[in-house]
Symmetry: C2
Subunit: 249 residues, 2 copies
């Protein structure tokens, strides 16, 4: 009951990129710098969270996963608590950087930006079983730990505000009649809910079907900006730049 088949679609290595994770260990000496070691341990923590869940993640498991000795974590991080907070912080930073980057690449048009934001959420880099499982592990503990609670809004104040602003802009462009704040809440909640569904992994929900569901919703809520086209949804031509990005099936 300990290792269900999990990481079927996760990108294997982290950006640190060493492949010595499971290595024999002969060269695991004084090579890595302090910061590298910290990242290595954080990656091992995410692995453990994904594989065994929060309550069964132990210091020993993290150390083993990193191919290092038991006491190592208390050397680089002060305690288990601090390790977990650092891990969550790492994931939150990574997530925020990811959507900000997608937004920056999207240009100025609100519809393009909204689409980019949604698409970014289903990018393999952030949307894979490993990271989703880790997120969910923290969610489960967030209510009783203020420190987690603050960071678990990776979809935080700023993220939410972007959604509100975009909904507001689109509403004013086309006069949809909805209340921007409420709609923004509904849309961002949908993305989170789809992540959750994906994580629980029951049924036949995949990254593709989830993305398609989100796109379908955009087409219904913003019919003047997005249009159904065969099996996919795409940006409607006419307004801003013509972008023909589309759902992938």
């Amino acid at each position: 009951m300990n290792t269900p088949p999990l990481d079927d679609e996760a990108p294997k290595t982290s950006r640190t990129g060493e492949t010595d994770r499971k290595g024999e260990g002969e060269r695991r000496g004084r090579k890595a710098s302090k910061e590298q070691r910290r990242q290595q341990l954080i990656e091992a923590t995410i692995d453990s969270l994904a594989r065994r869940g929060y309550s069964e993640t132990t210091m020993a498991d993290v150390a083993d996963g990193a191919g290092l000795s038991r006491g190592i974590v208390n050397f680089h991080f002060e305690s288990k608590e601090k390790l977990l907070v650092a891990t969550l912080q790492y994931m939150a930073d990574e997530y925020a950087a990811h959507w900000r980057s997608a937004l920056a690449r999207a240009g100025e048009d609100p519809a393009d930006r909204l689409w980019a934001l949604v698409a970014a959420d289903f990018d393999r880099f952030v949307c894979n079983k490993r990271k989703l499982a880790a997120w969910c592990a923290f969610w489960g503990e967030a209510k009783s730990r203020p420190t987690y609670q603050a960071l678990c809004g990776a979809r935080d104040q700023a993220y939410q505000q972007v959604f509100v602003d975009l909904c507001d802009a689109l509403e004013r462009e086309a006069g949809y009649g909805f209340e921007p704040g409420a709609m923004a809440l509904a849309l961002s909640a949908t993305l989170e809910g789809l992540w959750l569904r994906l994580m629980l992994g029951t049924e036949n929900v995949t990254r593709e079907t989830s993305f398609q569901a989100a796109a379908e919703l955009l087409a219904s809520v913003f019919p003047r900006h997005f249009v159904r086209d065969g099996a996919g949804v795409r940006r409607r031509a006419g307004k801003g730049h013509e972008m023909t990005e589309r759902t992938e099936r």
Copy 2:
């Protein structure tokens, strides 16, 4: 960091209804039946999950919360694992009974039924911090425990199918053009996502604003069936029975 203000809006007592939970203990003798004791312990487990989170929920805490002695849980349930499974099962049954009942009360018209389903999700009985926190605690562990995974689809196969059927019916009535399966996934994910947001409890998200957001979404996706009316959303008149239920502000 142990007892943040949590149960601000939760309905206090369970259906078992005894108030002897925190009683002095002089009459806590052989009064309760076996089944009553089990329920009492399950309620105490939900309390503990909500208050301290999954990883910090201990047998001692559950026993204390029920006002009983340490060894009691292992007598009524065989182990901690079995207690938690029973608790999850209890919540899943309760949730399923709740939406089925709401559906039964809603009549035949698909739009009324969909509205009832959504409204049921934000009913105080199931949607309060205590139960939401407990759900979320299980979600966090579900990935690594097949037993939890199966039950965590309280929103399970059957629930999802109801959504698909309703989306399909409404689509055929009005020719919205969306794919029912995808839309059903998006909508049910939205509800779950709103629960999650509510649970994390950041920002100013309340049960009312969440419900309003969901209603706003319904009005956008099914404009021929629901209409915005002042500050709320209501069932559009004309088709089935005229129901003027609306969001509460």
